[in-house]
């Protein structure tokens, strides 16, 4: 396992350097001078102008510039953003990245879990009427034109029913006399969600060993209630009580984007699980399990679903990257100030340093997701480990 991890890690490092080089060359290939908008920008004082030229080595040949860019990437130095002048790209990214990560890690986890659940049931009920309808629904949400769908959701839930706010991160009126900055509150929220989901995961892991399905469900329900109780205590005591009002405001703005993306993202997993489950159900060992007299649910959950999980995990690698991609759309439609919105803004306004920085960071994010998924895949499927070690 360790050798595999190390091998993958080195491969990833090479891929990462290639990515950096390609992304630099891409920006370099912009006709004329990629930085020419710098000359026309009246917001930039001469020092910033000088600094940008030095940071990117604009007076040097290509190879040296490339070298400088890679060194600067690790130093986190991208010069200044043109549109947000005194701020640096890294500063902007460190503000925006947590928001994107929070939104999309929740979506990823929920979509993967529900997708797997739905796909499992679809394959099991093959031929029934409910299967046809759910399949049609999943195909619709898999292929639906996402911006259109998001706008319709926004119209229906945000405007017509008026249940949720029309995009944005918070309601400014509520924050006028706030003792905390929105980032501070948001970090608390992130910490809380991380701890809560970790505990939830622990509950699932611990109860996995319980043999009787009925007992297991009860144990999980009990764990959930306990966790809810603990979080209620957390939010009514100490500093968290003061932050509660503001945290609720942010959380309220998160509901509709999360729901919309989940609705679109779960379908891919569900459809794939359905296919792999159907393949697995043809296998002999399923017949054996049935012949042994095991209950239907047991055959489905313990024997078929576990084998069917593997290809789904592989596809999950791809899904993560598509979801990062999709963040651009989600964020621009719901006005969620995250990475996706930042890159769109930077590209449209030709803010080259910012566009470079965000593009590289999204790439790194995708790379890390890819790496984690690869490792967990090898962990789940021993065949891959053994093949790579021999």
């Amino acid at each position: 396992m360790l050798t595999y991890t190390i091998k993958r890690f080195f491969e990833m490092v090479i891929v990462f350097f290639l990515f950096l080089v390609i992304s630099y060359l891409l920006f370099n290939a912009i006709p004329g001078n990629a930085f020419s908008s710098l000359l026309l920008n009246p917001l930039l004082p001469p020092e910033a102008y000088q600094k940008t030229i030095e940071a990117f080595g604009l007076d040097k040949p290509l190879l040296e510039r490339l070298q400088l860019y890679i060194v600067n990437f690790f130093k986190g130095d991208f010069g200044y953003s043109y549109t947000y002048y005194p701020r640096t790209p890294i500063d902007l990214i460190s503000e925006r990245l947590p928001r994107t990560l929070m939104l999309f890690s929740i979506v990823n986890i929920v979509a993967f879990y529900t997708g797997f659940l739905v796909g499992k049931i679809l394959a099991w009920r093959r031929g029934s009427k409910s299967e046809t309808w759910i399949t049609i629904g999943s195909v619709f949400s898999y292929t639906v034109f996402y911006p259109w769908f998001a706008l319709m959701m926004l119209w229906f839930f945000g405007y017509k029913l008026d249940w949720f706010p029309l995009g944005k991160f918070l309601v400014p009126e509520k924050w006028y006399d706030s003792p905390y900055s929105s980032d501070e509150v948001f970090y608390t929220l992130i910490l809380f969600t991380t701890v809560l989901s970790f505990l939830l995961f622990l509950v699932f892991i611990i109860t996995r060993g319980i043999e009787s399905i009925h007992n297991r469900r009860n144990a999980r329900l009990f764990g959930l209630v306990v966790l809810l109780f603990i979080s209620a205590i957390y939010w009514t005591n100490g500093e968290a009580e003061l932050k509660r009002f503001y945290a609720a405001d942010i959380a309220y703005h998160m509901i509709l984007p999360t729901f919309t993306v989940t609705l679109v993202a779960f379908a891919g997993t569900a459809l794939l699980t359905r296919t792999t489950m159907m393949e697995v159900l043809k296998d002999d060992y399923i017949l054996t399990a049935r012949a042994k007299g095991l209950s239907q649910k047991r055959v489905r959950d313990r024997h078929a679903a576990r084998t069917a999980l593997l290809p789904v995990v592989t596809s999950f690698i791809f899904t993560i990257i598509t979801i990062i991609d999709g963040s651009v759309l989600t964020e621009s439609i719901f006005s969620w100030p995250g990475m996706g919105q930042l890159i769109l803004e930077a590209v449209v306004q030709e803010d080259i340093p910012l566009a470079m920085a965000t593009f590289s960071f999204i790439g790194v994010l995708a790379l890390i997701a890819h790496f984690i998924a690869d490792i967990s895949y090898a962990f789940l499927d021993p065949r891959i480990r053994i093949k790579s070690e021999s």
Binding site: G127, M152, Y159, E279, A366
Partner: protein, 354 residues
């Protein structure tokens, strides 16, 4: 003689596969949808050529038609909800006009009169099946233009993508070694490339036309994940006895690769081609929705216009501006996806019911 036998064999195979495909309901539904949009795409130039449609009126980009519509004059109440209207946005309805509005322009009318005027966007009528947009252009014609764009883009990018990935995948499986390692790392790199931001950046400095985008999408798709899948399929074919016998009888490497391995990988490649059309159509619509493509008209632009002009939040009052374009993207992408599913049932025996 031999040729004819081969032909007969192919025909029989095709017939068998078609029979299998027909059994899958989803696949047939998808095929119907695709054929329907293909029909729409072909119909528009025909209508222009035969002069049934006048280009000045029906052209999707520069056409204009002012339609006289008679609307009832009503007086909008001050307080809502009333019996007739729920919210402020409901009054006046599409076929009504507010009397205060007329008075502001100094037009004499009374409540209950019918008032004849030009309206844009005009609701669906026998002249314009799906109404017109706010510039008086025919929505149905725009829809047809959009399906031309979608087909052009989807097919070009799918053919390029599948060509590249089949060639590279089989080469990686057949030659192995360094070439294999290189190609696999390369597809890793392409896979991790965030494709939408990447396309944004390209569109920031290059004037992207439809076929440029098709080439870019095809290349990206062809170098990405499909190489890995096709390679694994080719690896399975490579160890089959007939490849060995071809080698023993003295077939050159190139011949074995092109006439023995490639045909056996082709079904999977076809499957990939159909699935990649879905992605290409979605990417095009997204880019033109964000206004980053240099084309006149497409489904994405139709939605972009209805959003920027503020019709999206009027709900269903101006449904012909919002629903057709979005539904068309969804349906065509879904149609290709379903065809792919049907083909999957044909080529992958393990998925069949019995």
């Amino acid at each position: 003689m031999e040729n004819q036998e081969l032909e007969n064999g192919l025909k029989a195979k095709f017939k068998k596969n078609w029979r299998l495909f027909k059994q899958s309901k989803l696949g047939m539904t998808g095929l119907t949808i695709v054929i329907f949009f293909g029909f729409l795409a072909i119909l528009q130039p025909l209508l222009f050529l035969t002069n049934i449609w006048d280009e000045g009126t029906y052209h999707p980009v520069v056409g204009y038609d002012s339609e006289q519509i008679s609307r009832t004059v009503v007086e909008c109440p001050d307080e809502y909800p009333t019996e007739k209207y729920n919210t402020k946005e409901d009054c006046p309805r599409v076929d009504e006009v507010n009397i205060r509005y007329l008075k502001a322009f100094g037009i004499d009318a009374e409540v209950g009169d019918s008032y004849l005027s030009n309206v844009q966007p005009a609701p669906p009528s026998s002249r314009h099946l799906l109404g017109t947009d706010s510039l008086g252009r025919d929505i149905f014609s725009q829809l047809m233009e959009g399906s031309q764009v979608a087909f052009l883009l989807g097919l070009i990018s799918a053919i390029i993508g599948v060509g590249i990935s089949t060639l590279l995948g089989t080469a990686a499986a057949f030659y192995g070694g360094k070439l294999d390692t290189y190609l696999m790392r390369q597809s890793d790199l392409v896979l991790m490339l965030p494709s939408l931001p990447f396309l944004f950046i390209i569109s920031a400095f290059a004037e992207l036309k439809v076929w440029h985008l098709a080439v870019v999408l095809g290349t990206l798709g062809g170098l990405g994940g499909s190489v890995i899948t096709i390679k694994s399929q080719a690896l399975q074919v490579k160890v089959k006895p007939f490849v060995d016998s071809a080698r023993i009888t003295g077939g050159s490497k190139r011949r074995i690769m092109f006439s023995h391995i490639l045909p056996n990988v082709a079904p999977l490649a076809l499957l990939y081609m159909v699935f990649s059309v879905t992605g290409a159509i979605a990417s095009e619509s997204v880019l033109s929705f964000l206004g980053l493509l240099n084309i006149d008209m497409s489904w994405g632009i139709m939605i972009y216009l209805s959003q920027t002009e503020g019709f999206i939040f009027t709900g269903l009052k101006y449904w012909w501006l919002i629903i057709p374009a979005g539904l068309a993207v969804t349906l065509l992408a879904g149609g290709f996806y379903l065809v792919g599913r049907g083909l999957d049932d044909v080529f992958n025996p393990r998925l069949r019911r019995r």
